[in-house]
């Protein structure tokens, strides 16, 4: 399961993570976000141990959405050692999401 995290957890779970983290910036009202949700869960399971997958609700955490200039949902950002490594806009098939973590 890709867990939804809050702004207060972001520092420890994402920026200080010792493995790459894929973060899905989503909104509860966005159709493509709902579509990609079960795929993210599969990806989370598949990469378990090597990488992590989290979700950020842009309405619950507008500060994070603003900090990372998220203007479209879903936006996927891969963080490595606290830095942005890749950004990808829109829902994507599983292989595409796995490729972001390569």
């Amino acid at each position: 399961m890709a867990k939804v995290i809050s702004s207060s957890e972001f520092q420890s779970e994402v920026l200080e993570s010792n493995v790459p983290v894929l973060v899905d910036f989503f909104a509860t009202w966005c159709g493509p976000c709902k579509m990609v949700a079960p795929i993210l869960d599969e990806v989370a399971e598949e990469v378990d141990g090597k990488a992590k997958v989290y979700k950020v609700d842009v309405d619950q955490s507008p500060d994070l959405a603003q900090r990372y200039s998220v203007m479209s949902v879903p936006t996927m950002i891969v963080f490595e050692n606290g830095q942005i490594k890749k950004t990808s806009m829109g829902a994507q098939p599983k292989q595409g999401l796995l490729a972001l973590l390569d």
């Binding site: 909104a27 009202w29 966005c30 159709g31 493509p32 976000c33 709902k34 579509m35 990609v36 949700a37 079960p38 795929i39 599969e42 842009v58 309405d59 959405a65 200039s69 998220v70 203007m71 479209s72 949902v73 936006t75 806009m89 829109g90 829902a91 994507q92 098939p93 599983k94 292989q95 595409g96």
Partner: protein
């Protein structure tokens, strides 16, 4: 999975309303059915918040709920979802071959193409670079990021005007830009435009250039196509709604007949020029692309596939 299990009577490509209806009908008629989908059920339907023109729901229906209901209904009769992107189709082979992104290969005696269509880009310079940085193709997805800001909608059809009506509720100003002197949208969409106090219409106008500040869209240069006069507007968002393009990338090389726009040529039976290959939904040549016409296509294509398999 053994090779044996990878053969199906029918392979349906795409889980939009056309594909899901086709799967429901083929599975229900006893044909083994594989339903391929790269993401989740719904297709373009899920770009819409609520459907008000799909019959049977007096108060409208959530597009997402309808998509999952259609998917569940096809599954109830045994349609098997293959949740992978199809990367190769061999339509002229016998049996027909379907290869997915993980390299798995499937075969089927009949294929129903239901990949649908996708929003067409405007074709203005820097559009790709600013996509997701102010340029959007889905107002209901991204409108929320432009709360109390000025935005533009480009297009003149139902989607464009629907976007204007949605955005006018949340944005400070909405500019509607259309290259002709009148909108194409139906009256049911255009009537409510008169009530909007924060709408500015730019008819006979095209977008000539996009401007940014720190990598985010900040404004547009418009040009009046009749007077050739240029003007500038400050907007943080531009929503493109200039029609759709068929998702036909997998179809090259098979000898499938496409029309000038790239849609698969077929009448309402869904039969194409290749025996055993059928088409349903937005991918087909047709005058009206709606959920309600897609489901009709799905049923017809399934029936044609059933007849084809009964005779062969």
């Amino acid at each position: 999975m053994s090779t044996q299990e990878k053969h199906f009577d029918v392979a349906v490509i795409g889980q939009g309303p056309a594909g899901m209806t086709a799967s429901l009908y083929t599975a229900r008629s006893g044909l083994s059915t594989a339903s391929f989908e790269r993401m989740g059920p719904g297709g373009q339907m899920t770009d819409t918040e609520q459907l008000d023109n799909y019959p049977g729901f007096a108060d409208g229906v959530s597009a997402f709920e309808l998509a999952f209901a259609m998917s569940g209904q096809a599954a109830r009769f045994g349609a098997q979802t293959v949740g992978e992107e199809v990367v190769e189709l061999q339509l002229d082979a016998s049996p027909k071959k379907i290869v997915t992104a993980s390299g798995a290969a499937y075969t089927a005696d009949a294929v129903i193409l239901a990949m649908g269509a996708e929003p067409r880009p405007l074709g203005v310079e820097r559009e790709g670079e600013l996509a997701g940085r102010g340029v959007s193709y889905c107002a209901t997805c991204d409108g929320g990021f432009f709360r109390d800001k000025a935005v533009a909608v480009v297009g003149g059809g139902n989607t464009a005007v629907g976007d204007v009506l949605y955005l006018a509720r949340i944005c400070s100003e909405v500019h509607l830009i259309h290259r002709r002197d009148a909108l194409r949208a139906d009256a049911v969409y255009t009537e409510p435009l008169r009530e909007l106090s924060n709408l500015t219409m730019h008819l006979d106008s095209v977008v000539d250039a996009l401007h940014d500040e720190e990598g985010k869209l900040s404004g547009l240069t418009l040009r009046n196509v009749k007077t050739d006069e240029a003007s500038e507007i400050d907007v943080a968002g531009m929503f493109v709604a200039v029609g759709t393009a068929p998702k036909n990338a997998l179809l090259a090389g098979a000898g499938l007949e496409l029309d000038r726009g790239g849609y698969v040529v077929s009448d309402e039976t869904g039969k194409t020029n290749i025996p055993g290959v059928f088409v349903a939904g937005d991918l087909r040549t047709k005058p009206l692309r709606q959920v309600s016409t897609a489901v009709g296509d799905g049923a017809n294509a399934a029936q044609s596939a059933f007849e084809f398999l009964s005779l062969s």
